[in-house]
C-alpha cells in the first residue's frame, strides 16, 4: 500500500493513498466537525463544516471530499475557518429550526444533575430532554466553533413524534444531514428512507410509518443519526454506564456487538466497527432483540417434577437426583443433546461428560438438522466440512451463486456483502424456488421445483463441460475422479433437466456461463440445499461444480455453507457429534482415542453413537432411557414433532437445561436454569470458522448458573473432580487447544480482539481465512458421480402441494428467545402460510383466511398469505410459532449418509378452515 505524508495543523500525519483529508485527520486524532460525513458512506460535502485551509489553494475545500496528497499542508482551525463555520452552522440551525436551548442556554451546565429525571418527559423540545443530550454531534460542533447564539428567529416545527417498534423518529430534531437516507440506500441496500420535501420548509424524512414500508428495522439509521432525531427507546431514559464487547447470540454470522449497560440492564446495542464480520452492522434481532435476556419468564431456580408438576427446588436436590439417575443409566442407555447456542467450552464439557463419565458416544446436537449433510459431503470431497472462504471475501467476488439460502432474511449481514459485491460489479445468480430479496438484484434467477437441486447443478456442470469452460489445470493437478464424472454427464440432456426442475434450459446455460467465466465465483448455500433426503448429494454436486471450474482455494471463491446457529460450527468442532472427538478426530481411530484416554485418564467407547433422529427412535424401542438435553427445543424444531414429543414423554428420565421453560423443558423430570450468552464468558465459532470471545454482560437471574458450571458440577459429583474442575472458561479452552489440532494456537489472550479463524495449529499461526489453498485437506479433491433421486414424499392427488419450511427475518428458530421480545412480535406474531395467488384462487382462499394444512403425519391451522414469493404448487411456513407447530407436518425421511431429515420437502393439502 502506498503511504503518503502530509502535515495537518503542523503535525506530520502518515496515511494511505486514496484517503481523504478528513480521514487522515481523524486517524491522527484531530477533530474536524462534520455532520453529513460518516465513515460508512461516500462523502457528499454537503454540511460544509469540515472546510479546511490547504496551503497554495485559494478556496476552502471540504475535508471530506478532498483527497490527501503527499506533502500537503492543511490547517483546520484558523480564525477565518471558524468564522465561516459559525455562519454555516447558524444558517443550518435557522433553516432546520432545530431547538437551540440544548446548545446555547447559559445555565445548561447547572441542570446536569437533574438530567435523569427531566429526560423522562415524553417530548423532546431541546434542552436536557433530548435523548441524545451529551452525545449529540451538533452540540460538539457548536462547542468547537464557539457559536453562542443565532441571529435568526426559529420556530419549533411541531412534527408529531413517530413511534416505531423499537425507536422514535422525532424530526423536530432532524438537521437533514441525510446520513440515515444514505445508510439505508448505500449500506443496507434497502432505500426505504428518503426526503419528504415540503414547500413550507417543514422537510422531514419519509415514509411516515416504517411499519407499513419495506423497512427491515436493522437500526442502522439510528446508529448514524448525529442528533436525537432517531433514538432507540431503550436508551431514552438511561445512558450506558459501561460497555461490553461480545458476540450476537442469533445466527452464525457472528456479529460482534458493543452492549451498553446501565444499572444492570441492557440499554444499548451497537455493532462493533473495525475488523469484525459485521463492521458495525447488525440486523433487527441482534440490534433490538436482546430483551429476552431480561425477560420475566427466565428460569431462576431448578425445577423437579413431583406428583406430575414441575416445582421449584434447590440446586443440591436437583443435582443429587440427576447424579443418582445418571449413575444407573451409564453406557448406551444414555443420550445427550448438546447445544449450538452454548459456548465452545460448554460443548466440549458436554461431550466430555457424555464420553468420559456416561461412557457412551450418544451425543449429538441440532447440526444434525441443518448442516450434517455439509459436514458429510465436504469431508468426503475435500476432507474438511466448513465454509472454505471468509465472509469479507464475498464482496470481492466476480460471481456469487446463492442456492437454497434466503440470505437477506436468515443471514442479513452476509446479504450486505452480496449487495456490496453487486455494486462492485459482481454477477449474482440466485437459485431458489421462492422469490427472495436478492432476486431483485440477481442477473439470473433459477426457480427450481423444491427437491430438484441435483439435476439443476448437474445441468450447470453439463453446460460448462460442453462449452469447454472447465479449468483443466486445476482438475489435473488438484483433483481425482474426473473421468467417471465427465462420462456420467454424457447422457444428461438439458431439456430433461429443464423438465424435472421447471427451469428454462436457456437460463441454466446463462447461469453456467456466468459462473464459469466471471470468476472468482463463490457459492453460498444453506438449509435449502442441506435439509433433503439427498442433502449430501446436493452438496457433492456443488463440490463438483466448484472443482471443475477451479473455484476453490483462492480468494472470493469456494463453497460457503452459512451456518444457522451462532455456535453450530463450534459445537461441531468441539465434537458434540456421535462419531468424532473435538476437531473431527474419529472415535474409531485408535490413535486419536488414545490421546483422549491418556488425557482424561480412562478408556473411552470406540463405537460411534446414535444421531439425533436415531436417539428418538431408540427411546421408542426402549434402548435409551435417560436423556440430558442442553439448550435445544426438539419438540418444535424436529420433523414429525408429534413423534418426538411422544418419545420424550416416554423416556425414563429427562433433564433439560434451558433459559426458558420451552416446550421441551415442560416435558422434563428435572429442569436446570442455565444462563444466556449475556451472562457468561466463553467463545463462539462463527460460520467462517472464526473463534470469537463472548463476554459476561449481566449477572444471571436468580439461581441460574452458566452451563459450564452445571456440567462441571455433575462431572465432579459423578466421581471425576480431577477432570471437571476449572476456575474459569479460559482453562477449558487451554485443554481444548491441547487436544484439538485445529484449535492448537487459540487462547483467550490471542482472541481478545478480533478472533482467529481455524485451522490455527500453533500459538504463532495467524489463522486461516481460505481453506484448501495449496492442497485439499484430504490430498486431492474427489469428483462424485451423482444421479437424481426424487424427494422422499412427492405431491400426489391427495396431498397436492409441496410444503417447504424456513425462517423469517424477525424471528429465530423455535422462537424461544425472539417470541419474548414485544417489538419483534409486533413485526410478526403468528404463522402465515405463504401460497401463490393462483393457488389461492383455485382453492377459494383469500389473504388472511384461516387455512388447515395437513400432511400424512399431522395438521395445523394458520392464516394464509397470498404472495408471488411462493411459486404455484408450493406452500411455505416457518417453525417459529409453537402454537402452530409446523414440524408436525414435516417428513422425518433421512439422508442415508448424513442422517439429516427432509425438512424442506413434504406433501400437504390445503383447505379453508373456517368452512364458509
Amino acid at each position: 500500500m502506498d503511504e503518503i505524508a502530509l502535515t495537518i495543523d503542523g503535525l506530520e500525519v502518515r496515511t494511505r493513498k486514496g484517503a481523504t483529508v478528513l480521514q487522515a485527520a481523524r486517524e491522527a486524532g484531530i477533530y474536524i466537525p462534520a455532520l453529513c460525513d460518516h465513515p460508512d458512506l461516500s462523502p457528499i460535502g454537503s454540511c460544509k463544516l469540515c472546510i479546511v485551509e490547504v496551503e497554495g489553494q485559494k478556496a476552502y475545500p471540504t475535508a471530506c471530499t478532498t483527497m490527501a496528497e503527499d506533502g500537503m499542508a492543511v490547517r483546520t482551525r484558523t480564525e477565518e475557518l471558524q468564522e465561516m463555520r459559525r455562519h454555516t452552522l447558524e444558517m443550518l440551525l435557522a433553516l432546520t429550526n432545530h431547538p437551540t436551548s440544548c446548545l446555547f442556554c447559559d445555565r445548561k451546565d447547572e441542570c446536569g444533575d437533574l438530567r435523569e429525571c427531566m429526560r423522562k418527559f415524553p417530548m423532546a423540545v431541546g434542552c436536557r430532554y433530548c435523548p441524545n443530550d451529551g452525545e449529540c454531534e451538533l452540540q460538539a460542533a457548536v462547542e468547537y466553533t464557539a457559536l453562542d447564539r443565532i441571529r435568526y428567529e426559529t420556530s419549533y416545527r411541531n412534527h408529531p413524534v413517530l413511534r416505531e417498534p423499537f425507536f422514535d423518529r422525532d424530526y423536530n430534531l432532524c438537521i437533514l444531514c441525510s446520513r440515515c437516507v444514505r445508510t439505508c440506500r448505500e449500506v443496507r441496500g434497502e432505500a426505504v428512507l428518503d426526503f419528504d420535501i415540503d414547500y413550507h420548509r417543514q422537510h422531514s424524512i419519509g415514509p411516515v410509518s416504517l411499519l407499513d414500508s419495506d423497512c427491515k428495522f436493522c437500526g442502522a439509521c439510528v446508529d448514524v443519526c448525529p442528533t436525537g432525531a432517531l433514538r432507540a427507546r431503550s436508551e431514552r431514559w438511561e445512558r450506558p454506564e459501561d460497555f461490553v464487547t461480545t458476540v450476537c447470540p442469533f445466527c452464525g454470522v457472528g456479529c460482534v456487538m458493543d452492549i451498553g449497560v446501565a444499572s444492570g440492564h441492557i440499554v444499548r446495542v451497537r455493532g462493533t466497527r473495525g475488523d469484525t464480520p459485521n463492521n458495525g452492522q447488525l440486523c433487527v434481532k441482534g440490534r433490538f432483540g436482546l430483551d429476552f435476556v431480561e425477560s420475566r419468564e427466565r428460569l431462576k431456580t431448578p425445577l423437579i417434577r413431583k406428583g406430575g408438576e414441575l416445582v421449584a427446588a434447590g440446586w443440591d436436590e436437583a443435582l443429587s437426583l440427576i447424579v443418582d439417575r445418571f449413575s444407573r443409566s451409564k453406557g448406551d442407555r444414555f443420550a445427550l443433546l448438546s447445544s449450538a447456542k452454548c459456548t465452545n467450552e460448554e460443548n466440549y464439557l458436554a461431550q466430555k461428560l457424555c464420553r468420559l463419565v456416561m461412557e457412551t458416544n450418544n451425543v449429538d446436537h441440532c447440526a444434525r438438522l441443518c448442516h450434517a449433510s455439509t459436514v458429510a459431503a465436504l469431508a468426503a470431497a475435500f476432507g474438511s466440512g466448513a465454509m472454505t472462504n471468509s465472509i469479507d471475501e464475498l464482496a470481492g467476488a466476480g460471481c456469487i451463486l446463492i442456492i437454497g439460502s434466503n440470505t437477506p432474511e436468515q443471514h442479513p449481514v452476509i446479504a450486505l456483502k452480496i449487495k456490496e459485491a453487486k455494486r462492485r460489479g459482481a454477477k449474482i445468480i440466485v437459485a431458489n424456488p421462492r422469490q427472495i430479496g436478492l432476486c431483485s438484484i440477481a442477473d439470473v434467477w433459477l426457480r427450481q421445483t423444491p427437491g430438484t437441486d441435483v439435476p439443476l447443478i448437474l445441468g450447470l456442470c453439463k453446460v460448462i463441460l460442453d462449452e469447454g469452460l472447465i479449468d483443466e489445470q486445476f482438475i489435473r493437478e488438484r483433483c481425482e475422479g474426473f473421468d467417471p464424472f465427465r462420462d456420467s454427464l454424457a447422457d444428461l440432456s438439458l431439456d430433461e433437466v429443464g423438465e424435472i426442475t421447471g427451469v428454462e434450459p436457456e437460463l441454466i446455460r446463462d447461469a453456467a456461463r456466468i459462473y464459469a467465466q466471471k470468476g472468482p465465483s463463490s457459492i453460498v448455500y444453506s438449509m435449502g440445499i442441506t435439509q433433503h433426503s439427498h442433502g449430501t448429494e446436493n452438496i457433492l454436486a456443488l463440490a463438483n461444480l466448484a472443482m471443475m471450474t477451479g473455484n476453490l482455494g483462492k480468494p472470493s471463491s469456494g463453497i460457503n455453507p452459512l451456518r444457522g446457529q451462532n455456535n453450530v460450527q463450534g459445537a461441531c468442532d468441539m465434537g458434540a457429534l456421535p462419531n468424532v472427538f473435538p476437531g473431527y478426530q474419529p472415535v474409531v481411530g485408535d490413535e486419536q482415542r488414545k490421546k483422549f484416554e491418556e488425557r482424561w485418564k480412562k478408556g473411552l467407547p470406540n463405537k460411534p453413537g446414535l444421531t439425533l433422529m436415531e436417539i428418538f427412535s431408540a427411546i421408542e424401542e426402549g434402548e435409551v432411557d435417560c436423556m440430558y438435553i442442553i439448550g435445544e427445543n426438539p419438540v418444535i424444531s424436529d420433523p414429525d414433532a408429534a413423534h418426538v414429543a411422544e418419545a420424550l414423554e416416554k423416556v425414563g428420565f429427562l433433564v433439560v437445561q434451558e433459559i426458558f421453560l420451552s416446550e421441551t423443558a415442560a416435558l422434563a423430570d428435572v429442569v436446570l436454569p442455565a444462563t444466556s450468552f449475556a451472562e457468561k464468558d466463553g467463545t463462539f465459532t462463527n460460520t467462517e470458522r472464526r473463534v470469537q470471545r463472548v463476554r459476561k454482560v449481566l449477572e444471571p437471574p436468580g439461581d441460574a448458573r452458566p452451563d459450564w458450571m452445571i456440567i462441571s458440577e455433575i462431572g465432579r459429583r459423578m466421581g471425576r473432580p480431577d477432570q471437571f474442575t476449572y476456575s474459569d472458561p479460559s482453562k477449558i479452552m487451554e485443554e481444548i487447544s491441547s487436544l484439538t489440532p485445529s484449535y492448537g494456537g487459540i487462547s483467550y489472550d490471542r482472541i481478545d480482539e478480533g478472533g482467529l479463524q481455524w485451522p490455527c495449529p500453533t500459538p504463532d499461526h495467524p489463522g486461516t481465512g481460505i481453506l484448501h489453498r495449496d492442497g485439499f485437506t484430504r490430498g486431492k479433491g474427489i469428483f462424485s458421480v451423482l444421479t437424481y433421486r426424487p424427494s422422499a414424499e412427492l405431491p400426489d392427488e391427495e396431498y397436492p402441494f409441496i410444503l417447504t419450511t424456513g425462517r423469517i427475518l424477525c424471528h429465530f428458530h423455535t422462537g424461544t428467545m425472539t417470541r419474548k421480545v414485544s417489538g419483534l412480535n409486533l413485526l410478526r406474531d403468528e404463522e402465515l402460510v405463504e401460497i401463490n395467488p393462483a393457488d389461492g384462487i383455485a382453492l377459494g382462499i383469500e389473504d388472511g383466511d384461516l387455512v388447515e394444512v395437513s400432511s400424512r403425519r399431522g395438521k395445523v391451522t394458520a392464516r394464509a398469505m397470498l404472495t408471488e414469493r411462493s411459486s404455484p404448487g408450493v406452500a411455505f411456513m416457518t417453525f417459529h410459532f409453537a402454537e402452530t407447530p409446523t414440524n408436525v407436518l414435516t417428513n422425518p425421511a433421512l439422508d442415508p449418509v448424513a442422517k439429516i431429515p427432509e425438512l424442506k420437502v413434504c406433501a400437504v393439502k390445503l383447505s379453508r378452515a373456517d368452512g364458509d
Binding site: 440506500r185 432505500a191 426505504v192 428512507l193 428518503d194 426526503f195 420535501i197 419519509g206 415514509p207 431483485s440
Partner: protein
C-alpha cells in the same frame, strides 16, 4: 398496467439507458404517454432502472407537473401568480370551477377535465393567464374562459 402499456413504457425507458440524471425527463415522457404515473409503474421503473422506489417517489411527488393520481383528458391551469391575481385570476378560477362543477385540483367525474392552480406561468404581462392542454390564453375574460371550455366539450 396492461401489456400494451408495458411495450410503450419499455420503449421510453430504453431511450434513457446508460444516461445519468434521467429521472425527471423520463417521468415526464411516461406521463406524456399515460397522462399520469401509477404506483405500479414506479415499481416497474425501479426494477428496470435500479433506482430505488423511494427516490422515484420523492422526485415524482415533489414536482407538481407529475401526476400521481389519474387526471382528466384535458388539463386546465389557472395562474394565481401575483400579477394575474391583481388582474382578476381568482374570478377566472372561480368561474371555471363552477362551470366544471369541481373544486381546483379536482377532476370531473367523467374524467374529461382536471383543474389546477399554478403559481406562475412566466408570462405575467399577459395576465390573467390560463392554459388549456398546454395552450396559453392571455388576458382571459370570463367569456373567453367559457369559450375555451366549450371548444373542448
Amino acid at each position: 398496467m396492461d401489456a400494451v402499456d408495458l411495450v410503450k413504457v419499455d420503449e421510453i425507458i430504453e431511450r434513457y439507458r446508460g444516461q445519468e440524471g434521467f429521472l425527471i425527463q423520463l417521468l415526464l415522457d411516461l406521463q406524456g404517454e399515460l397522462n399520469w404515473i401509477p404506483r405500479d409503474l414506479i415499481d416497474y421503473l425501479s426494477e428496470r432502472s435500479g433506482v430505488p422506489r423511494s427516490q422515484i417517489y420523492r422526485i415524482a411527488s415533489f414536482y407538481k407537473a407529475i401526476n400521481l393520481s389519474p387526471v382528466g383528458r384535458h388539463m386546465i391551469h389557472v395562474c394565481m401568480g401575483t400579477a394575474c391575481q391583481v388582474r382578476g385570476a381568482q374570478k377566472v378560477l372561480d368561474y371555471t370551477a363552477s362551470k366544471l362543477s369541481i373544486k381546483p385540483e379536482e377532476t370531473t367525474p367523467d374524467q374529461a377535465f382536471t383543474l389546477r392552480k399554478v403559481n406562475c406561468l412566466g408570462c405575467c404581462s399577459m395576465g390573467p393567464v390560463m392554459t388549456v392542454d398546454g395552450e396559453y390564453h392571455g388576458g382571459v375574460t370570463l367569456e373567453a374562459a367559457e369559450k375555451a371550455l366549450k371548444d373542448l366539450r
